[in-house]
Symmetry: C2
Subunit: 123 residues, 2 copies
DNA sequence: TGCGAAACTGGCCGGGTGGCCAGGGCAGGA
DNA sequence: TCCTGCCCTGGCCACCCGGCCAGTTTCGCA
């Protein structure tokens, strides 16, 4: 294939805030070697910005709860979490229960999904 | 406090491909009114690009498996999924089993996490 | 026409999960 | 000092989950 020396970089915009999106589009429209993607076009990279107003309160999780949550996200069972953290299965259940409560989840799968959505953990 | 009429937009870069990241950083570094974020700095928006090579084969999931997967991601139990899809719990288990197999997961929580990572579902 | 894939259903069972009860230890603030 | 929050542990129990066995229908493809 013919190697273009300066191929354009196609950027997509996924930004909640219309004002920020407009300013970025205006700024990036004048940059040589760079183009904004047409709707539906395949882009090399995407500029994303979540509206911070949608999650005003970051849930207060204790360090131990974060430990348990991280292992839950890896599919670990209570027994495995207990072994990994050097605590008893009962204690793991205790922390899992607190997590379900704080994250308003119905089960461990829901808890991991909620936590990921709110940015508490990274998948 | 001097109120700039044109506050700088801070952009973060999260790009797997080093070459693409370099080119973008070079291009964006010269744009007035725009700045790349320092490591750990809070950014107004983030430029993301997954390396397509890390997931060469999108897993072939059947339509029914996708239905079940979506409900699993919402924390639904097998019983709830069965009711929602109008099928029996046994059939749900059957599809869940296939999902665990195809997604190489140890349980439903792991399956949802893997699927989200690979972009099969959106959390 | 035969054959495989997909979807669907049933029974069975060991182990995991989540909710409830009860406690103890240990730090920091009122 | 007492009190609160966090961390830890135990028992008990109903339910869920995942894996195993078995079977059915329907569909498209060779």
């Amino acid at each position: 294939m013919s190697e273009d020396k300066t191929p354009e970089i196609v950027l997509a915009l996924e930004i909640d805030d219309p004002a920020l999106a407009d300013r970025l589009a205006a700024l990036l429209g004048n940059v040589a070697g760079l183009r904004l993607a047409a709707p539906g076009e395949q882009a090399a990279a995407t500029i994303v910005a979540r509206d911070p107003r949608v999650m005003p309160d970051d849930i207060a999780l204790t360090q131990r709860e974060l430990d348990v949550l991280a292992l839950m996200a890896e599919g670990a069972s209570n027994k495995m979490i207990a072994r990994r953290l050097g605590i008893s299965v009962h204690t793991v259940k205790f922390h899992v229960g607190s997590l379900l409560d704080k994250l308003d989840a119905t089960g461990r799968t829901d808890a991991v999904a909620h936590a990921a959505r709110r940015g508490v953990i990274e998948l």
